[in-house]
Amino acid sequence: MAQLQVQDLHLNFGGLTALNGISLSVDSGEIFAIIGPNGAGKTCILNCICRFYHPGQGSVTFEGQEITNFAPHKVARLGIARTFQNIELFQGMTVLDNIKLGAHVHLRSGFFAGGLYWGKARNEEMKLRREVEEQIIDLLEIQAIRKKIVGTLPYGLQKRVELARALAMRPKILLLDEPMAGMNLEETEDMARFILDINEERGVTIVLIEHDMGVVMDISDRIFVLDFGTRIAEGPPEEIQHNEHVINAYLGGSDAAFSKLGL
C-alpha cells in the first residue's frame, strides 16, 4: 500500500482555486517529484500534508492513518519531515542547535531534568550529539560550520543545514521544497547526491518539488505534473519528457520546451 496518499484535495483562497481535486500516492522508498509552472500549487500540496493549510475538501493519509485533522506538531511525530522553499531556519541559533531541534520529538527529558542537566537528560543530550555528528553532519559534510550562527551562513549552506535539520527528525518521508533553488551547478550536484544517499542508505521516501528539470529527470522514480491546481500528467521521467500536455504547460509547445525538458 502507498505510504502517503492524498485524495481529492481541494484548496481555495477566497475565489482562487489553488488545488482542484488533487490525488496522488507515494510509495515507500521512492523518489517522487512534483513539477509544474510557477503558481501551479506544488507547495500548497506540501502545506496541506504538513497541516499548514486546511484543505476545503479531501484527505491525506499517511501509513494508513488519516492525518487531515492533525495538529501540525503532531504530524512531525509520525515521521513526516520537510524543508522549505524560502529557508525557514532558526536564524539566531547555531547549526548544531538547529539540527538538534530537529530531533525534538524524539527526546524524552522534561524541562526540570534538562535544567539540572543530570542523569537521563544529560545522557540523552550526549547521545543526540553523537547521532547528529556522526549520522547527519558527516553525511552532509557541514563539519566546518557546526558552531556557526545560521544567519551568518551563505544561502547554499543554509539549504544544506535545513536538510540536516529535517534528517534529524528521523523521517520516514521527506518533503523537499525546491532544495536546489538558487544553487550553482556544483552545489546542485552535491544536493542531488545527498538526496540519493538519504533515499538509498536510509530508505527514506522523498517527495521533491524542483524546477531544475535535469535533476528531476535524473533522480526521480516518478513525476507528477501540476498546472493551475490540476494534475496534467503522472509517470516515470521518460514518459513525462514526451508528454504533450507537459510541454504545452511549460512553454506553450514551442521548440524551446523540448530543450528545457532535456531533449
Binding site: 504538513c50 499548514f52 495538529a71 501540525p72 506538531h73 503532531k74 504530524v75 512531525a76 511525530r77 520537510r82 522549505f84 525557514e88 531556519l89 532558526f90 536564524q91 539566531g92 541559533m93 542547535d97 538538534k100 531541534l101 530537529g102 525534538h104 520529538v105 527526546l107 527529558s109 522534561g110 524541562f111 531534568a113 534538562g114 535544567g115 539540572l116 542537566y117 537528560a121 540523552e124 543530550e125 550526549m126 550529539r129 553523537r130 555528528e133 535539520r165 527528525m169
Partner: protein, 355 residues
C-alpha cells in the same frame, strides 16, 4: 601547549566552561563572592556612601527576576509587561504563607514561585494568539489586575498599608542580617543561573529559542507551540516569583507600591541593556540598572554641596543622566552589555596577535 581547543569527546565540547583558565576565573569569582566580598563591602560602603552589601542583595534578588524575564522575552520572544506584578504575587504569597499561615521559609519561598508560575501561565494564555505589541498590552492587563487585587483585597494583602514580614530562618539558621541573607541570595542566584543555562542547552530551551526565531517551522519540527509558550511563561514567572519572595523577606514590608508598572519596565530595561537572549544579560543588566542610580548620586551630592542653592536641578539631573545613558546604550550597543562582553573576550583571546 595546544594552540586551540581540540576535543576528543563530545562531553568536553558540550561543557559550559571550556578551558582551564575560564574555570580558574570562575572559581576565583566564586571565592571572591563567598569569602572576600563581605570583608570588602563594609569598608567600601563608607567610600561610596551607600551600603554595598545592601546593593549586592538587591542586585541578587533582581538578577533572579531578570533571568526569568530574559527566558521569556530574550529566549522565547514573548514580551511581558506584567513581571513587576508577578514579582508582587511572589512577594505576597511568601509573606502571607510565612506570616499568616505559619509556613517555614523553605516551603513558602518555593510556594511563592509555584503560585506565581500558575498566575503567569494564566496571563500567558493570550500568547498563543498575540505577539509583539499586542502581547505587551495583554500582559500589561495582568499588571493592572494584580495591582488592583493587591490594593483592594485587604483581608489578604493588608491593602495599601501592606504587610509586615519578618526575617526568616532556614533550618534553624537565622537570616537576620544583610550578610546572612546575602549568602542565601548568592546561592539562589548561582543555582538559577546554572538552571537557565542548562535549560537552554537541552530540549526545552532549544524549543523556546526556535519559537522565538521562527515559530512556524518550529511547529513543523514537532514543537507544540502552546505548550512551550505556556511553559516559558510558567518558568519565567517562577523565577520572578522566587525573586519576589526573597524581596519580601529582605525588605520586611510588602505593599503594592513596590510592584508597579515602573518595576515591569525596569525589568525590561534590565534585560534589554544586559542583552536579550544572553544568560549573562540578566546579570549585567541588573547590576547596571541597580548600581547606576546609586553611582550617579555621588556626583550630584558633591555638586549640590558646592552649589546648595540649585540642589533641585541636580536631583533631576540624576534622572536625566540615567535616561540618557540608557538611550546611548541602546544606540551604540543594541545587543546589550553581554554582547560587548563577548567582543571584549574575543579581542583578548588572541591578544596581542589578533591576526
Amino acid at each position: 601547549m595546544p594552540t586551540g581547543l581540540f576535543y576528543t569527546k563530545y562531553q568536553d565540547d558540550e561543557k559550559i566552561f571550556h578551558t582551564l583558565w575560564v574555570k580558574i576565573w570562575m572559581w576565583a569569582l566564586l571565592i571572591f563572592l563567598f569569602v572576600c566580598f563581605p570583608f570588602v563591602a563594609y569598608p567600601l560602603s563608607g567610600f561610596f556612601g551607600f551600603s554595598l552589601q545592601h546593593m549586592a542583595n538587591m542586585i541578587g534578588i533582581f538578577i533572579i527576576g531578570a533571568h526569568g524575564l530574559n527566558l521569556l522575552t530574550g529566549f522565547t520572544g514573548q514580551i511581558s509587561l506584567g513581571h513587576g506584578a508577578f514579582m508582587g504575587v511572589g512577594a505576597y504569597t511568601s509573606a502571607i504563607l510565612f506570616m499568616k499561615g505559619g509556613w517555614p521559609f523553605w516551603l513558602s519561598l518555593p510556594a511563592a514561585g509555584l503560585v506565581t508560575a500558575g498566575v503567569g501561565m494564566i496571563f500567558g494564555v493570550p500568547s498563543l494568539r498575540l505577539r509583539g505589541l499586542y502581547l505587551a498590552i495583554a500582559t500589561m492587563a495582568a499588571q493592572f489586575i494584580i495591582g488592583y487585587a493587591m490594593r483592594n483585597w485587604t483581608s489578604l494583602t493588608g491593602g495599601s498599608a501592606g504587610l509586615n514580614v519578618d526575617r526568616p530562618s532556614i533550618f534553624g539558621f537565622a537570616l537576620d542580617t544583610d550578610l546572612r541573607y546575602y549568602y542565601l541570595i548568592l546561592i539562589l542566584v548561582i543555582f538559577s543561573t546554572l538552571f537557565l543555562k542548562n535549560l537552554l542547552r537541552t530540549k526545552t530551551g532549544r524549543a523556546m529559542v526556535a519559537i522565538r526565531d521562527r515559530y512556524l517551522s518550529a511547529e513543523i519540527m514537532g514543537v507544540n507551540l502552546f505548550k512551550y509558550r505556556l511553559l516559558a511563561f510558567g518558568i519565567s514567572s517562577f523565577y520572578v516569583g522566587v525573586s519576589g519572595g526573597l524581596f519580601a523577606h529582605y525588605n520586611l514590608v510588602v505593599s503594592d507600591e513596590h510592584f508597579t508598572m515602573w518595576l515591569s519596565i525596569q525589568y525590561l530595561a534590565m534585560v534589554i541593556i544586559g542583552g536579550l537572549g544572553h544568560v549573562l544579560g540578566g546579570i549585567f543588566g541588573t547590576i547596571f540598572m541597580v548600581l547606576l542610580p546609586e553611582l550617579l548620586r555621588i556626583p550630584t551630592e558633591i555638586l549640590s554641596n558646592i552649589y546648595p542653592n540649585i540642589f533641585a536641578i541636580f536631583g533631576t539631573l540624576r534622572e536625566l543622566v540615567f535616561g540618557l545613558v540608557i538611550i546611548l546604550f541602546l544606540i551604540f550597543e543594541p545587543d546589550g552589555l553581554a554582547a560587548r562582553w563577548h567582543t571584549i573576550r574575543a579581542y583578548w583571546k588572541l591578544w596581542p596577535f589578533s591576526y
